[in-house]
């Protein structure tokens, strides 16, 4: 017992001295003359760059010009400090921590831990390797997910449902972009198709949520095929722009064709999903919606995971890596591309139905290009081709702006900056996709 306590004590001491050394080295680095010079120059450059827009505020309506000199000073000071860290992290990313600090911290593992590769990594890896821990983590996650709507407010549940919807959307797009490598900028079109499918079928034929959910999926897939056919020959960014155009066409048709879609004023009073014919209060229907999304999410994760490791999934990856080699291997490129589009769109169609049921009102404004960009962002930010990555990406992209509500108009500014910073420092996404290795075990005889 005592040895354990002593061990813990000494390890704490180690960590303490380690952190202290690390900070000292960081300060020493920042005091190097060339660092000081570079930061000063960067600060001056940014002050020059932002000078007209930050300082001189023109109001051509009333012909007034206001000067805000303080702003540029704040900016200069901020940039001065930020640039230290910017360069430090860039160097760590490219040459490792030792090169960046120009010294070996006494206990590198501490410093490594701070930049995520030493002790902490080892610890969590050990934990993850442990089956018991894994099950425990899984169970506690499940318990948390189940308890969530009862622990937190309606608003929290609502935005969590939103995040879950984007997880499914992200996973769907992940099939097209992450696995098959086809850049799709018009994914939102299928989402719109699903949403309008429920709204219209309900309006004209009174079909319920559960009846439309599969219809939405099928319709999504069909639209995926319709888009897939003409773009079979296109590659890379040509494909991107055509899909973007497709997304816009769908939105514009919904906006202009009043007789069909009720135009820009949208469709209101879409019923929430039924629960065996019982009328649910707002709170319980929000919770119900949450659980529907949890279910849909699990289904998606299961299916996408199975797909990834199936013959089709392997074919997609082959297509992404090298189209010609893929054909040479005897894979039918047309069929594989079309399945990617169709299977990706299926999920968007389903989530569209859920979206219509959740918000009870839809109009074409919800399906703009920005929405496609956000879904793509989820996929890339989280790490293309990985399921966990997409989940984390969705939480980040959807929840960050919600929790940043407090800071009002700076919200989108910070959101944009976060995206740039994330990409610069972790371009492969939060989770790096690891190539699946298949081990063939020898028979032990």
């Amino acid at each position: 017992m005592e040895t354990v306590v002593a061990g813990i004590k000494s390890s704490f001491k180690n960590i303490y001295t380690g952190v202290w050394d690390f900070i000292n080295l960081l300060i020493a680095r920042s005091l190097r003359p060339e660092e000081l010079k570079r930061s000063t120059l960067t600060a001056l450059w940014f002050m020059f760059l932002t000078f007209p827009i930050l300082v001189i505020k023109v109001n051509t309506v009333d012909n007034v010009i206001n000067w805000y000199w303080a702003r540029v000073v704040y900016l200069g000071v901020t940039v001065y400090f930020v640039s230290f860290f910017w360069r430090y992290f860039l160097e760590v990313k490219e040459h490792g921590i030792k090169a960046a600090l120009d010294a070996d911290p006494v206990d590198t593992s501490i410093a490594d831990g701070l930049t995520d590769n030493g002790q902490m990594g080892a610890l969590s890896a050990r934990l993850m390797a442990n089956k018991k821990f894994k099950t425990a983590l899984g169970i506690s996650l499940c318990a948390f997910a189940v308890a969530f709507p009862f622990m937190f407010s309606m608003y929290q549940t609502n935005i969590m449902t939103n995040a879950l919807m984007y997880i499914v959307l992200g996973l769907g797009l992940n099939i097209v972009v992450g696995l098959a490598g086809l850049l799709d900028l018009g994914y939102v079109a299928f989402y719109a198709v699903g949403a309008y499918c429920y709204a219209l079928l309900n309006l004209h034929f009174g079909l319920g949520f559960w009846a439309v959910l599969p219809i939405g999926a099928v319709l999504g897939a069909t639209c995926g095929l319709i888009l897939g056919f003409p773009v079979l020959r296109l590659r890379g960014d040509y494909l991107a722009i055509v899909t973007l155009g497709f997304g816009e066409i769908i939105r514009l048709v919904l906006q202009n064709w009043n007789e069909f879609s009720h135009g820009p004023s949208g469709i209101a009073n879409i019923p929430r999903p039924g629960f065996f014919g019982i009328d649910l209060s707002l709170k319980s229907s929000i919770i119900y919606m949450y659980f529907i999304m949890i279910g849909l999410c699990l289904l998606t994760i299961f299916v996408v995971n199975r797909l990834q490791h199936s013959r089709i999934g392997r074919a997609w990856v082959a297509l992404r890596e090298d189209e010609i080699a893929c054909q040479a291997m005897g894979i039918d490129k047309t069929k594989i591309k079309l399945t990617a589009f169709a299977l990706g769109a299926t999920w968007a169609g389903m989530v569209g139905v859920v979206f219509a049921a959740k918000s009870t009102f839809i109009n074409p404004e919800s399906f703009t290009f920005m929405e496609s960009a956000i879904i793509l962002m989820i996929v890339v930010l989280g790490g293309m081709g990985t399921i966990v990555g997409v989940i984390i990406g969705a939480f980040m992209v959807i929840l960050t702006p919600e929790y940043l509500r407090g800071i009002g108009e700076y919200r989108m500014l910070i959101f944009g900056a976060t995206m740039v910073i994330m990409m610069v420092f972790r371009p492969q996404g939060i989770i790096t996709s690891v190539r699946q290795k298949y081990k063939i075990m020898k028979d032990k005889t």
Binding site: W45, F48, L49, T50, P52, I53, L54, I56, K57, V58, N59, T60, V61, N63, I65, L90, K93, V177, L183, V231, R233, L234, R235, G236, D237, Y238, A240, I241, V242, L244, G245, F246, E248, I249, L252, N256, D322, I324, A373, L376, M377, V380, L381, M384, E409, Y410, M412, L413, F415, G416, A417, T418, M419, V420, M422, M423, V424, P427, Q428, G429
Partner: protein, 300 residues
Amino acid sequence: MEYFLDLFLGGLTRGSIYALIALGYTMVYGIIELINFAHGEIYMIGAFIALIVASVLTMYGLNMISILLIASIVAVIYAAAYGLTIEKIAYKPLRKAPRLSPLISAIGMSILLQNYVGIAQTKDFIPFPNLIPEFAFLAPYKDTIRSSEFMILITTAIVMVFLTLLIKFTKIGKAMRATAQDKQMAMLVGIDINRVISFTFVLGSSTAAIGGVLIASHIGQINFYIGFIAGIKAFTAAVLGGIGSIPGAVLGSLVLGWTESFATGYISSDYEDVFAFSLLVLILIFKPEGLLGKSTTQKV
């Protein structure tokens, strides 16, 4: 027939507007194969800088021509500086990253810049003074073409010719072509590809700023969001013409401008963008590399 001519001219102006932005797009794409979503924002920032400079100068009571000149020059310098900085911050560290990462970084940059201008300046539409003087020699034709339209047409033509010549006949142009073809190889023969890429951004951003000043003068108002919409259209035009090709960008822009103009005139403006995008899909189906794009065989 007069109606047709009016629509033709309208489409021509519109196309030239797209072209001024599309040129920058296509150059950046040609070099590093990146859809630079922040390019539209550079155009917007160029317009804002010109507006700010012009307002300050008007306060000091300068005459029209010098205001136009100084405002344009300052806008071009600043846009170039912004282009350079954006490349350095958001794209340069991503040279070796997966293909989609710079795209996301570009979208992030675009959101960042929009909100930066929106917060620092205003989120409302603000009027943009008409900086372009009325040309006396155009007075007899002022029912057909206005001087701002005329300026846009002329500038587009000049910029296109200038860029084509620059890329074809100068040393840096040669370096740009080499970098576009094969970065590794270009480095091996002694080309500083970082400088070439920076130069391309400076060039593209300057074009966008010129566009910003002229287009904002023509339209008469700006806000922080104009770059995004114009950017998407310009990108469409660049792809239509064959991305990476300078004359292609201009041709694509004009085709797009005419399509929209005639579709509005003879069919309905409700579906103007639908026609534009449908045309794009049709052309790409039959000519996947765009109107003037080079058909490259796929490398194995």
